[in-house]
């Protein structure tokens, strides 16, 4: 089936980014794409095990949101978490090593594909059950407000971005957390990556109200429908939400309309989705679209973009070598990390 709901239009009348910002965002999107392509290949070759959920097609959301935030802001992801982690600054080496289950992985090889964590980069996880990361993200946002008001830390103005999919918006934790976030005006952005499919369940077969952004209004918070294939649209909406959150005005919900090019996971035969639907979205590829924008606006030359792509090709090769050469966790450390003292 072809998308019936029209994509929102976003009129870029003037450059939304400086050259420097644009290249950072572009590099991040390319990293997300190339990294996931490599994961798919490694899974096929049997190098990476377990459940692996790839992000291809959705790059404008991770890059658009996270690159519009500060490095001390918090990011909370789902099982489709490789690219959110990369955008938040977790080195590709550490994400790839985690996929290999190595001691050098960001979760020391204990987490795997669905459980990327980095305290250093404020990545709260990597949550594999639907919706369970949203309360955790809410807790980080509460902590920021608490630190500012109950502990008098004037510098506590971090914002938390909680990412999740359309399927999650039918889960109680989604509604419960929207309520509490609005009630307490917490600095959080609920980023819905509506890719229209919860594994094999089409969004309109699961949701009585398919326009998720409208659910925000019930809680008295702004909700925006965003073209999730346009990184500048995502970035602009995020900036507005971040500004609101930092000013203590409370949460925002962004519904980013996007699409995953691959199946739910690498194990998904992906038989239900119409090829015409896939083509519709692939024609709106966020990376190609942003490339065209950068070139049109004279923010980058073909050479600039190519050199970024070449650099990322090298980064991905390097992280693969790093992961392969890294040691496994030591068997004697099977029990390490159960308790805080370990």
């Amino acid at each position: 089936m072809v998308q019936e709901r029209p994509l929102p239009t976003f009129q870029a009348t003037s450059p939304q980014v400086t050259k420097e910002e644009g290249l950072v965002v572009y590099e991040d999107m390319v990293l997300g794409r190339y990294f996931e392509d490599k994961c798919a290949e490694l899974y096929q070759r049997g190098k990476v095990k377990g459940f692996v959920h790839l992000y291809n097609g959705q790059e404008a959301v991770a890059s658009g949101v996270i690159k519009a935030m500060r490095s001390d802001d918090y990011v909370c992801s789902t099982y489709r978490d490789h690219v959110h982690s990369l955008s938040a600054g977790v080195p590709a080496r550490e994400v790839m090593a985690e996929l290999f289950g190595k001691e050098t992985g960001c979760s020391k090889g204990r987490g795997g594909s669905m459980h990327m964590f980095s305290k250093e980069h404020n990545v709260l996880g990597g949550f594999a059950f639907i919706g369970e990361g949203i309360p955790v993200a809410l807790g980080a946002a509460f902590q920021t407000r608490y630190r500012k008001e109950a502990m008098g830390d004037a510098g506590a103005d971090q914002v938390t971005a909680a990412f999740f999919g359309d399927g999650t918006t039918n889960n109680g934790q989604f509604f419960e957390c929207l309520n509490m976030a609005a009630l307490w005006k917490l600095p959080i952005i609920f980023v819905v990556e509506n890719n229209m499919w919860a594994i094999g369940m089409a969004h309109e077969r699961a949701s009585s109200q398919t326009e998720i952004y409208k659910k925000a209004s019930v809680f008295g918070m702004p909700g925006y429908e965003v073209d999730g294939m346009d990184v500048l649209a995502v970035r602009a909406a995020t900036k507005k939400a971040v500004e609101r959150a930092r000013a203590g005005e409370g949460p925002t919900l962004l519904e980013c309309l996007t699409y995953r090019y691959r199946g739910h996971s690498v194990a998904d035969p992906d038989e239900l989705r119409d090829p015409a639907e896939k083509k519709f979205w692939r024609d709106r590829d966020p990376i190609k679209r942003f490339e065209a924008y950068l070139l049109e606006q004279d923010l980058a030359s073909e050479t600039d973009l190519k050199s970024i792509r070449d650099k990322i090709t090298d980064v991905v090769e390097d992280c693969l070598t790093f992961a392969e050469e890294s040691p496994d966790p030591h068997p004697a450390e099977l029990y390490k990390y159960i308790f805080a003292e370990d």
Binding site: Y74, C76, G105, C106, S107, K108, G109, R110, G111, H115, F117, S118, K119, L124, G125, G126, F127, F129, E132, I134, P135, V136, A137, L138, G139, A140, A141, F142, Q143, T144, R145, Y146, R147, E149, A150, M151, G172, Q173, E176, C177, N179, M180, L183, K336, Y337, I338, F339, A340, E341, D342
Partner: protein, 327 residues
Amino acid sequence: MAETFLFDALREAIDEEMSRDQTVMVMGEDVGQYGGSYKVTKDLYEKYGELRVLDTPIAENSFTGMGIGAAMTGLRPIIEGMNMGFLLLAFNQISNNAGMLRYTSGGNFKIPVVIRGPGGVGSQLGAEHSQRLEAYFQAVPGLKIVACSTPRNAKGLLKAAIRDDNPVLFFEHVLLYFNKEDLPDDEYILPLDKAETVRTGKDVTILTYSRMRYHAMKAVEALEKKGYDPEVIDLISLKPIDYDTIGASIKKTHRVVIVEECMRTGGIGAEIIASINDRFFDELDGPVIRLSSQDIPTPYNKGLEDLTIVQPAQIEEAVEKIMQGRL
């Protein structure tokens, strides 16, 4: 110092910890303005304000997860289950995120959270309000599980739990809140992982916890008159179990009776028997006796409720049997 009720001992623990550490806060249903259903947080809202004593909507799974997220980012939340049974709704957060997240994250985050509230079989509260979640949660890795039983240990243990860097499930018993005793004047902290020897004896080791400690002691009164000398150990820590104390006692008595309020199947006692067999089998003179609640939803009717949980007379009888070798 005047005698202190158990609920007030808990309140003192929270108050003292909140005043010494700004990152300690309380959250849950009716903990603030209302002062807590059992008054464990009475007056703290007025003293510390609405952020540090946070009244939450009735959304157990989400506010528990929120406490975990706050703990991951530097706070030390005390999450109150208005009734611990309600936390079945938060099982996912307690298991996946409180219990396992530190390990899964390869040590990235610690989760210094206390999840506390009343559990156990009350007085005709019906099945849902009479649950013993300690047995359900004992299999979750990464959790510490504690059951307090006296005003003195309630205060010292709760303070320790709040200071602990790990998630602690802290069980109070709904029928023990009005127990009272003199508390030490000076500040004290009790270890979370040590059992408490309630009565020293040489004949038989009675292992128990929470309210069943009092049923055991009632049985002991009768047993003493008959010339028996039982040792009574209050487990305190249900995870990890203090096998050092248990082992030392078994080496002296060679006989064990377990008295618990949780259900027989998959209970705390089941786990202890298995571990006693692993560790101290050669010390035993006979099989361990286990007295547990019946494997049924706790009935409302008073007579049936009494039949569901272990009564002092049953403990007395079990000890006599084991002492007379009638097993």
